[in-house]
Amino acid sequence: MSDNLLELDHVTMQFGGVTALDDVTFAIRRGEILGLIGPNGAGKTTCFNVMTGVYAATSGGVHFDGAPLAGLKRFQITKRGIARTFQNIRLFPDMTAIENVMVGADANHRTSVGGALLGLPRHHREEAEGRNTAMELLTFMGIADRAGDAARNLPYGYQRRLEIARALATKPQLLCLDEPAAGFTPAEKVELMDLIRKIRAQGYTVLLIEHDMSLVMGVTDRIVVLDFGKVIATGTPSEVQDNPAVVAAYLGVPDDDA
């Protein structure tokens, strides 16, 4: 078994005439926290979307756990072990926090209409299991006190955490976080960094898209930098920090504009 959990192999993604991803190749190693950074519009979220099956790549392929993801539907990819959160929070607003997480937990369940109608033992077993998973995740994320509230009524920080809990409930191997710290105060960011480390400590691999450099530098093992849909640098935080191309991309050095 390869060391890499997920590999992007020469992925190109075009929308009409616009190339959002241009021959992107990188890998995520098992158990690491990989940061994916880049200026606005660099293609980070597109990259996410290709990985989770929202878009089908124009060319190139994505391999997860040694198998190609091409042709799989989104929910199948989730069941394979990739879970994600969203840049703009996308919870199920009129469902309670616990229900939100249970929807995630259901990814591993098999009860369908027949089982539910007849009240088969598996239905009861899975329901109990789902509740336990959900409550434990909410406790782990520190939001169990509002478990019975509608997601729309939760404070912003809770909603962000709830999204992570919901993603974790699918029992993923790879957790993809899309700007989880957006809108957080510095104190909250520190808490989040702890949380991400704790998640990794449980054996998850984490892919992190983030704008906030301090957060990325502080928590990741490795960083991939995208600019104009291309990978311009890969390495440890300190390597990337010193890379002139990265600095140019972020600071917009004139000769890079050409």
């Binding site: 989770t52 929202v54 539907k73 989104r74 929910f75 989730t78 069941k79 879970a83 994600r84 969203f86 996308r90 919870l91 199920f92 607003p93 009129d94 469902m95 309670t96 616990i98 229900e99 249970m102 929807v103 995630g104 259901d106 990814a107 591993n108 369940h109 009860t111 369908s112 209409v113 089982g115 539910a116 109608l117 009240g119 239905h123 899975e126 329901e127 789902g130 509740r131 336990n132 998973t133 959900a134 409550m135 434990e136 995740l137 406790t139 782990f140 478990a147 019975g148 509230d149 509608a150 919901r166 993603a167 974790l168 409930a169 699918t170 029992k171 449980q202 054996g203 998850y204």
Partner: protein, 367 residues
Amino acid sequence: MSLSESLRSVTSGTRSVSRLGEALAKQSRSVRWSFGAICILALYLLPWWPNVPVLGWIVETPGTSFPSVLTDQVVIFVLVALGLNVVVGLAGLLDLGYVGFYAVGAYTVAILSSQHANLPWLLCMPIAVLVSMLAGVILGTPTLRLRGDYLAIVTLGFGEIIRITANNLHWLGDSRGISNIATPPSIGPLKFGVLDAKPYYFLGFTTILIVIFLLRRLENSRVGRSWNAIREDEDAAELMGVDTFKFKLWAFAIGAAIGGLAGSLYAGKVQFINPNNFPLQLSILFLAAVVLGGAGNMWGAVVGGALVAWMPERFRGFADKRVFVFGVALVLVMVFRPQGLIPRKIRKERWLESWKPSTGTALGSKE
């Protein structure tokens, strides 16, 4: 009393109903069960309500037979609203052609028990449910990939296609319709004849109870959660591992099956159907019933269905004007109570209070 005041009193009425519900929820299991049993018993006796003073004056339908209104309209609308609520209220799929499934159910019974065979109703009914379900799957498979509002017009078209086909095909009795449809078999004192509507009401009400029981099971399971998630955010649901297409198709099929069930009950009661029984406007009325009651709330659907069926018969005296009043009432209710008379409620997880962490942690269970 102005209408807005009465609107308010309706509002406070539903509020006090929900308050009653909350109060009941606090009671012990036995209290709740006996309350439910009394309610069910009282509803079984509904055909006799017009004989009760005051209450009778409220519910009676002057100018038409109350028990027949119950069987021909109220029971059917309540069942249909329950079924449509699965599609529209739970899964969030806008279906404007629900009358099609109702027609398929009624026509299946008609064809099998009168037009082309002489099967007993009891055998036709499950076949009708299955055929309607199949119709749901056949319509759903190509169309459920479409986005919300495209689905609306396509389903509307489906309802019309069913009606026009029935109207034009001799095999389906064309515009003359089908007479002499079999009635349910009489059991002991329950004689399913022509003149006494009460046995049909008991049958219909029992069917409603069974459907509610089964739907509750679905709502409180992975299936119901998946439907809710799809309604709230389809993309997010799929990315959380919900097989959205499969569950949408299930919602469609179950909704269709209940619609077909209602159709088979109707056909068995009136023993004559023709395409004019299934106009496009009926689909819209069904939808209005669900949303008026409160989309996504089973009790809302029940109340909405019953009201939409019963009101026009109660206010027969207004003749033509009642349709106008109904239209105005729809606008007013939607403006002042957009979630319907009994809005969808956030689920109360009763088990939450008694929940204790189990030994194996969810996170630790990973490898």
